[in-house]
Subunit: 215 residues, 2 copies
């Protein structure tokens, strides 16, 4: 499938499977745009994908929210465990994690309804007056929560699922907020061929990471 | 089922479903002792339960590891988002979250094999010379990772799944390290009756939180 076709599917609210590459994690993530979040979709991520359900924000959006990387918070704490900071994972990259959050209106935060609500509320806040975003983010959400925020470093700097999904959103003309979840198989990451079959069977787009790398 | 019977099942490496109570989260967690972790069991948690896969340590063990609460790290960072600190969730308790970790030998950290490895390695480290634990924990693990550490506040102080599962471990004569995951149904937490049926069908123990409260 071509990137243009996948971007079209995403823009219409569809789901996309992106396999990063054999040289990196060797993993496919199931993703959709944050504005299309629903409890049914969160259920699909946990049942069909099985990894961690994350919400990726591009650098510009993260800045509007005043969001730091998790490792910045860990380092700034000056606690002895700050030394545990992950500088580089086994596949070669710095982690994309920011902080985990819940919207204050959730109950436990982990249910499909609650995770969908947290994601929708962040998605809505992006459309607010930019001068209000930081204050409202701090007022209306709390941490720790059950939606793991990720910050994209830009596809020119990193080829992780965070950047790949955000690049696809950009090419689809969407705001840079994507929900993603690792697709797992028994024991290991779901094989590329199985991820592709899953996408075809369900009418979802399928892309490989290198299709989204800068030319 | 009586607590003694459930403790016996846990001590033999079996799995237990614990429903906290209608007055609290109204949620059942699927759990087992950390020493019994395996990739097959992690797969079962993500497929059958669907929540966040966490590793709870009792207060004494967390102290040996030098583990802080996540909220302590957030507060100590003095970052503007420190104000997002969750003091009390909707069901009335302070969160039990510490930091998320991976063992340095994992690849991505999220696969069944990797999450099982991280849990087994923490479980093994508890048995090490107490004078080495803090140094080895910082040396051999990194954060952020994909296993969410929780710290128990003791069943006399909090009635969350963290404390309930650790209390059962204690009554089973096991070290205070339990793997747990929220059982989810479509949209909401899995109903108590469905959680009980699931436990019965699979030969797992089923308990209600109040059975583990202090007399």
């Amino acid at each position: 499938m071509q990137v243009e076709e996948a971007a079209g599917i995403l823009a219409k609210g569809g789901m996309v499977v992106i396999y990063d590459g054999d040289e990196r994690e060797g993993e496919a993530d199931l993703c959709f745009h944050a504005a299309s979040a629903s409890p049914e979709r969160i259920q699909r991520l946990r049942k069909d994908a099985g990894g961690l359900i994350c919400l990726a924000l591009d650098g510009k959006t993260a800045k509007k929210f005043g969001l730091p990387f998790y490792t910045d918070i860990l380092a700034a704490s000056r606690h002895p465990i700050a030394k545990m900071e992950c500088k580089k994972a086994a596949y070669g990259d710095r982690p994309a994690f920011s902080i985990p959050v819940n919207h204050k209106k959730v109950y436990t935060g982990i249910t499909d309804i609650d995770r969908s609500l947290t994601i929708k509320k962040i998605s809505e806040l992006i459309e607010a007056d930019p001068r209000d975003i930081r204050r409202r983010f701090v007022d209306e959400f709390y941490s720790p929560g059950h939606v793991f925020l990720l910050i994209g470093r830009g596809i020119e700097n990193r080829h992780g699922h965070t950047e790949l999904t955000l690049e696809l959103a950009k090419q689809a003309g969407l705001v840079g907020t994507m929900v993603l979840c690792e697709m797992l198989g028994p024991g290991k990451a779901l094989a590329k061929s199985s991820a592709r079959e899953y996408a075809e069977k369900n009418g979802f787009a399928f892309l490989e990471g290198k299709q989204l790398w800068p030319k």
